[in-house]
Amino acid sequence: MGEKKSLRETYGKTLVNLGKIHNDIVVLDADLAKSTKTELFKKEFPERFFDMGISEADMIGTATGLASAGFKCFCSSFAMFLTGRVYDQIRNSIAYPHWNVKLVSTHAGISVGEDGASHQCIEDIALMNVIPGMTVLCPSDSVMTEALTRELYEYESYAYMRLPRNDLELLYDEKDSFGIGKSFVHKIGADITIIACGAMVSVAKNTLLRFQSMGIDAGLVDMYSIKPLDSKTLEEVLSKTKGLLVAEEHSVIGGLGSSVAHFASEKKPIKMSFVGIEDVFGESGTPDSLFEKYNLTEEAILKKGKILYDSF
């Protein structure tokens, strides 16, 4: 396994770099700046940083007011408190009036670990997906996180990006390009193509050779832009592969899997399988033990992939 790097650390550093060039960027947090790493921006630009305290609803609203005054706002907190807690504020105060506010969560998914289910947001993608016009991003490594943070600054609308608590393996380098509505094709499999996002991309990547040794030609697409989906690439995948296996650190309901299934069922119905959190809450434990127990593993992908392959 390659070098690992913190996505939230990269997010914080990228905000600082953006802040050095652009005077109109402001950052808001809700008493979690140390964890979300927006504190890096706070240290550099205290006059453009607002710690709203433990009041996420007020943070969202304040950001919309700042946006109306011409600022580009980034709001951060844990995924749990940045989405579910303030769903109505995001829908009615940001999206409906169409304010340029970016929501970047950290500690998304079950890999939050020891804090347990109250802090393990496995439904944020679903919640954000259904908001009209919302962009939803889930990067899989540090390089991509920097590129997407920069793209979010330029993007003149509202958007949500989720980051994990733990470090993820470096998958890309500066030559690779990423954007809203794009994806990164590692390989299109003749038998199975795995569509993954976030932490599940590196897990899925490790299964490709193992599939090969089983006589299955498997591919992988990093579908980090969950909304809008990269429809061009997905159509290409659908024309070249026999089955799709979607893997995500999120509930199997309403996430990347649901979006891809929706797309495929209209364009070209295809056999599909889903690796994600089944309809249950998580619990305390180390991130590795949680991934193991809740089937976010290479083995889970291989098992479901084999069943999918056998059904062709």
């Binding site: 009041s55 609203g61 005054a69 009615n92 105060s93 409906y96 009036p97």
Partner: protein, 271 residues
């Protein structure tokens, strides 16, 4: 202050509000009538906000946090010529510029969308902070409903207003004592209101929200306050201006019937 002109504008606004809600067979008359005198004072006298400058960065801003009083907002914007008065007849109908609750994307002059209660003050705070950062000397006026302050976000926002010493912000409480399910005192009593808002480090002024002399006194005093946000407790009457609608919770969100409409129009026209 041109008091006679404001009294006349209030009368015109009430008539337009009543017609809008009657035509639409839906909408909120009671809470629009309780807030309209303050809104007329702001839109037709106090605020730097006109057909010519309503998108300019240095305009004063009005936020109707109690978005259900949308007809009151539309009457002011329409009578100011921000959009044609003909739009009034489309209120709450399909393809209309005038949505049931204020929508920034569809209605010129609406600063932000409101309707889900308790969210307007946070927006107003952000606006006030942003304008200070840009060294724009405009004022932000935000009307809050007294039922709306049941919402927790409002209290979060109050702490933000004083934390950032937003002396360019005036929060106005439309204190008409009624919410859909009854008397606010019987649901979540905000009394003692003056002490409560003073304790949040606001400069508090108490007025009769239907008396233009008192309204003018309050907003003039507000302009002298430095380093603190201003909170104006406006004692108002729900349904003010039509005798049988006053203090009658049945006219919160129920449109008047034909005979009620005709009777109310007569009262307003003769008032």
């Amino acid at each position: 202050m041109k008091k006679e002109m404001l009294i006349q504008k209030s009368k015109e606004s009430r008539i337009e509000i009543l017609k809008m809600v009657y035509n639409a067979s839906s909408g909120h008359v009671g809470g629009a009538f309780s807030a309209i005198d303050i809104m007329v004072y702001l839109y037709f006298y106090k605020m730097n906000f006109s057909k010519e400058n309503f998108t300019s960065p240095d305009r004063d801003r009005f936020v109707l946090s109690k978005g259900h009083a949308s007809a009151a907002l539309y009457s002011c914007l329409g009578l100011k010529g921000i959009f044609p008065k003909e739009e009034f007849s489309h209120f709450r109908k399909i393809n209309s510029m005038l949505q049931g609750h204020p929508s920034r994307k569809t209605t010129p002059g609406v600063e932000t969308s409101t309707g889900s209660l308790g969210q307007g003050l946070s927006f107003a705070n952000g606006c006030a902070i942003g304008l200070k950062m840009k060294k724009i000397n405009s004022k932000i006026y935000c009307i809050i409903g007294d039922g709306e302050i049941n919402e927790g976000q409002f209290w979060e926002a109050l702490m933000t207003s004083s934390r950032y010493s937003l002396d360019n912000l005036r929060v106005i409480l439309d204190y008409n004592h009624l919410q859909i399910d009854g008397h606010i005192e019987e649901i979540k009593n905000p009394s003692p209101s003056v002490k409560r808002f003073e304790s949040f480090n606001f400069h508090v002024i108490e007025i009769n929200g239907h008396d233009f002399d008192e309204i003018d006194r309050a907003f003039t005093e507000a302009d002298t306050v430095q380093g603190k946000p201003v909170f104006i407790i406006a004692h108002t009457v729900k349904g003010k201006g039509v005798s049988f609608m006053e203090n009658n919770v049945n006219f919160h969100g129920t449109p008047p019937k034909k005979e009620e409409f005709e009777k109310a129009m007569k009262e307003l026209e003769n008032g």
